[in-house]
């Protein structure tokens, strides 16, 4: 980074060029673009046009149960949304839900990954068992947690806790947000574990070995070698987890229906309620726009991290 030598001319052909080489003829350029265009056009049409409409709808006063009520009302929807105290509660819930789930999942995922990063009998089986919660249809997973796990009378959780003097607690109605998050942590810990495990396994073994020979204890080894190496993986897991979790809907819908009140509602569920139960298209759209703006910060970070992990291998030339 600090070399003062004049930069060498770029090599003629890098092994994996990110840019189309100069001097490519026009016809060749189109031949190259040909295979890309169908996918690009499809993605633009299906994913971008609805968002443009969302922007447009958010400036309309439009309720589906009042036909002919549709008219332009500027930013009134946004003003209404920000005045809505329920919306603020829901926004806070969303942040808690995403932040809490991501943090707990990363910590548990790290511990599990460390457990699995060793040779032992049946390691493949244990890993297979561990990733299963991530694969199970989320609706089915939420159902299982709501009924056979959390049920106050017949649920397994209370049965397991009964020796500790825990009575028949109705977890889902008493701690709705925590109950939903338990289901989410169960679902997302395997994701974090897989990511961090990939990181652990990409760690050069000889360095750790050398450090151990030099007399570094396991704690020191972990703090000074393993954690720094894992940082990139943990960061990526955090932002990707956050981005996937912004869309959480199934668990809220199945377990609590956002209730009681809006105690366990998140933005997707609240917008869904506004749009499909309240038929208020304008306000639902405005909330959608706000959600997008709020996630841009996280997504920018995610994109930077993902591109960074590529640039390490691709732009070395």
């Amino acid at each position: 980074m600090t070399t003062t030598t004049p930069t060498a001319p770029p090599p003629q052909e890098s092994p994996t060029p990110l840019h189309e080489p100069r001097g490519v003829s026009r016809a060749e350029g189109w031949r190259r673009r040909g295979p890309l265009l169908p996918a690009l056009v499809f993605a633009i049409v299906v994913t971008q046009i609805p968002f443009l409409f969302t922007l447009y709808y958010s400036t309309q006063s439009w309720n589906l149960v009042r036909p002919g009520s549709r008219e332009f009302n500027g930013l009134d929807n946004y003003v209404d949304v920000f005045r809505d105290s329920q919306f603020r509660e829901v926004a806070v819930n969303t942040v808690i839900m995403i932040g809490g789930t991501v943090i707990i999942s990363v910590v548990l995922g790290l511990l599990l990954a460390l457990l699995l990063d060793r040779q032992f009998r049946g390691r493949g089986i244990v890993r297979t068992l561990l990733i299963t919660p991530f694969l199970v249809t989320p609706v089915a997973g939420a159902l299982i947690w709501k009924t056979t796990m959390f049920d106050p009378v017949f649920g397994l959780i209370n049965y397991v806790l009964s020796p500790f003097g825990v009575g028949e607690i109705d977890w889902v109605s008493r701690y709705p947000l925590a109950a939903v998050m338990t289901n989410l942590v169960w679902q997302w810990t395997p994701f974090m574990m897989l990511l961090i495990l990939a990181g652990l396994q990409s760690m050069p073994k000889d360095i750790a070995e050398a450090a151990r020979v030099d007399g570094a204890g396991p704690v020191k080894l972990f703090r000074e070698l393993t954690l720094p190496h894992l940082r990139r993986f943990i960061e990526l897991g955090t932002v990707l987890g956050a981005i996937y979790l912004v869309n959480t809907f199934d668990a809220v819908y199945m377990m609590t229906s956002g209730g009681p009140g809006v105690a366990s509602s998140n933005l997707p569920y609240y917008i869904y309620q506004r749009a499909f139960l309240g038929f208020d298209v304008g306000q639902a759209a405005a909330m959608g726009v706000i959600t997008v703006i709020a996630t841009i910060a996280v997504s920018t970070l995610a994109l930077r991290l993902i591109f960074k992990s590529f640039s390490g291998t691709e732009e070395a030339a």
Binding site: H19, L115, V139, W186, Y272
Partner: protein, 288 residues
């Protein structure tokens, strides 16, 4: 441990090995316990599916019982057929479309890159970063306008768009692993582009294509948000069917568990098969 003399390796081994080994067994046992713990809710779901309703509702929970297929039979008789077909159709067709669109696109973003490759990659991934809930209202209106409400094709199109960025990025990472010497050798031998794609590149990336397909299958099969908002009776998929189950038969745990087991089974199997490539798909190829 506190000796300062330079002990010979053999003596170190004698004192350290037994302790390491017992420690090792402890950690392995812990790994097994945690693994089973995470898996347990799924296991319990499967077990409950084989119970009679009376055995599903007991305190303390019933562990020993005579297994029965009654619940599975009941679920299969309750009109899951159309639903299953819908799910299979939406999953298969959208996955095929994703591969059809995504593989050529990934090729044009890796081995024979177009200008502004980076911008295009950025665009694809950014579509995944936008919360879907922000688009659901106009989607509902548009899908209604073109007459596709409660039509399985609406889900096919949306699932294709949902999985396309993952496939493009994932396939790109597989294309980039094709050794450039092989491609050079092929073109030296006078192979046309199409021949080297067919004879050299595709065979090399075929495991990648399989893994990409499996990940698309998992996501489309499990998708609920679009399905519950855009379908009703005709086009309902498995997750939507499950919801109907809880409102209709909310009190029948055994039957519910049987239904949940049936709906989760295909994707759990797909995920077990694809588990080595799962991380790569979920991290858009950033982590191998």
């Amino acid at each position: 441990m506190s000796t300062t003399t330079t002990t010979r390796p053999e003596t170190v081994d004698e004192t350290v090995r037994p302790r390491r080994r017992t420690q090792g067994i402890g950690w392995s046992a812990l790994a097994w316990i945690v693994g089973i713990g995470f898996f347990f809710p799924v296991l319990w779901m499967v077990i409950t599916g084989f119970k009679q309703e009376a055995d599903a509702y007991t305190d303390p929970p019933t562990v020993f019982f005579t297994p029965t297929l009654d619940q599975f039979r009941e679920v299969l008789d309750s009109g899951i057929g159309t639903t299953l077909l819908n799910s299979v159709f939406a999953t298969t067709v959208s996955t095929l479309l994703v591969l059809l669109l995504g593989i050529p696109a990934a090729f044009a973003l890796s081995l024979r890159p177009v200008r502004k490759t980076k911008d295009v990659l950025f665009f694809f991934i950014s579509t995944k970063m936008l919360p879907v809930v922000a688009a659901i209202v106009p989607l509902y209106v548009i899908v209604g306008d073109i007459g596709l409400l409660d039509n399985i094709w609406a889900l096919v199109i949306l699932y294709t768009a949902m999985n396309l960025p993952i496939a493009v990025w994932m396939m790109r990472s597989f294309f980039l692993e094709v050794p450039s010497e092989l491609l050079e050798a092929a073109s030296m031998d006078g192979a046309s582009l199409w021949t080297s794609v067919r004879e050299v590149i595709l065979p090399l990336v075929s495991p990648g294509i399989a893994a990409t397909a499996l990940i698309c299958v998992i996501f489309s099969w499990n998708e609920f948000f679009f399905a519950v908002n855009l379908t009703a009776v005709q086009a309902q998929t498995i997750p939507v069917f499950l919801v109907g189950f809880i409102t209709g038969q909310g009190l029948y745990w055994a039957q519910l568990s049987a239904a949940a087991t049936l709906s989760a089974l295909p994707v759990v199997l797909a995920g077990w098969v694809a588990q080595n490539k799962l991380v790569r798909g979920l991290s858009f190829g950033a982590i191998k």
